[in-house]
Symmetry: C2
Subunit: 216 residues, 2 copies
DNA sequence: CACCTAACTCACTAGTACGTACATTAGGAG
DNA sequence: CTCCTAATGTACGTACTAGTGAGTTAGGTG
């Protein structure tokens, strides 16, 4: 092993500093939106000063893009870990839906960032090379499941992988993204623990019912 | 009739001024979010000056709340117009889903405002008396349909009205609210005309399939 | 027609928020 | 051990932005 067992606490550590900036910035942007986020506030919540943010990221905008890129990268990582190809079509699609549900249940910050990006018409995402035309592994997965289900006769649907992905995502995303207005208007917090299991089962049932074609 | 046939162009017209401020403010807030919206920009887009905004609304925050209240009031109005009680349960719920789809297809600004409110954890909505505990007529409608469907044996579900409302809303809302990030990532604009009819049918099929219980 | 008030204009301020010039130091390379 | 550069701290400038003080006029009313 090298000289330092765990690199305990160097006073100067670019990687750590950059990582900490991104971490805090993600929270700040997710909480307040792009315009509402304060660079000074990000700096105040760190060991570091604001100068470092500009030293490493150059501008508020580039910091924001870096946060987006990191967040998307993490999500991709998680998606790649999904493994349902050994299941029969019906159970495969149900499991995928439930895992997507879990995935949205965690990653609240990511959902907020996506929401914020949509307010800005995804301007910043488009400006990022790292995020451009970077399809999602999930699509291939869904396509494989749909093909298998159609072949076996379990599924009767004309929807393609993107449609089904949207069907699943919309439910999972909405529940978290709109929890506050929904809660304020209907007096029910859809993200509260007592609703979790029921809603999780609901996505699964919903997709299965849909791809079976029983709504036509 | 009174002296003026159509009140052609008074130089001083409080109602008109207030309405114009709200209209322009709605666009500005919807486009840029609360923090990103510029009071000066709102003023610049009108016949009026910024001073008038403060004269009538007092602050940026109160203007924003006024915009929210107006937007919600309009949506309520539209919801009240829905009339599906003469239909059989299956067709009633399908029609309701399709009308909800249409409703979200228009009212893009409203969707953005809701999205923005969720970023702020619905703080401003909660601060408004006009919007507090103001349930939605749609819920009663859904409940009636669910009861009828269960009684007739067409429906087999344990989900209640709020659940089903969320099921329908999430799809319709997501398609519009997330169109930009979804488009950037999957190269398909779900709000483009060529997808409209297919997706509209999809919500209907989805809810019907679900309430029939064919996913369990 | 005179008056009075609500409606409106203009110029201005205080505070804030992004970004930077400049000074300083840690710590690896030779 | 020395030096050199990447990394960091301090203090400040500039531009913008919400909000206001004070004066002006339209137009309904008696």
């Amino acid at each position: 092993m090298t000289s330092q067992p765990a690199a305990p606490e160097r006073q100067r550590d670019p990687d750590r500093t950059k990582a900490e900036i991104l971490e805090v910035a993600q929270q700040e942007f997710a909480r307040h939106g792009y315009a509402g986020a304060r660079v000074d506030e990000i700096a105040a919540r760190m060991r570091t000063t604001k100068r470092m943010i500009y030293y490493y990221f150059g501008s508020k905008e580039r910091l924001y893009v870096a946060v987006l890129e990191k967040a998307y990268a993490e999500v991709r990582e998680m998606e790649r870990a999904i493994e349902v190809e050994h299941l029969a079509p019906v159970e495969a699609i149900r499991t995928l839906a439930e895992l997507t549900f879990d995935h949205h249940d965690l990653h609240r910050d990511f959902i907020k960032l996506v929401t914020i990006e949509n307010i800005h018409q995804a301007d910043y995402i488009r400006r990022s090379q790292a995020l451009a035309n970077l399809g999602t592994p999930v699509l291939d997965l869904i396509e494989a499941i749909l093909d298998a289900g159609t072949a076996s006769g379990d599924f009767v649907t004309e929807a393609d992988a993107i449609d089904v992905h949207m069907l699943i995502s919309s439910f999972c995303f909405f529940r978290v993204a709109n929890q506050h207005t929904f809660g304020a208007l209907f007096g029910r917090d859809m993200t509260a623990p007592e609703h979790r299991a029921r809603l999780r089962a609901m996505v699964g049932d919903m997709v299965v019912a849909y791809v079976r074609g029983s709504g036509a």
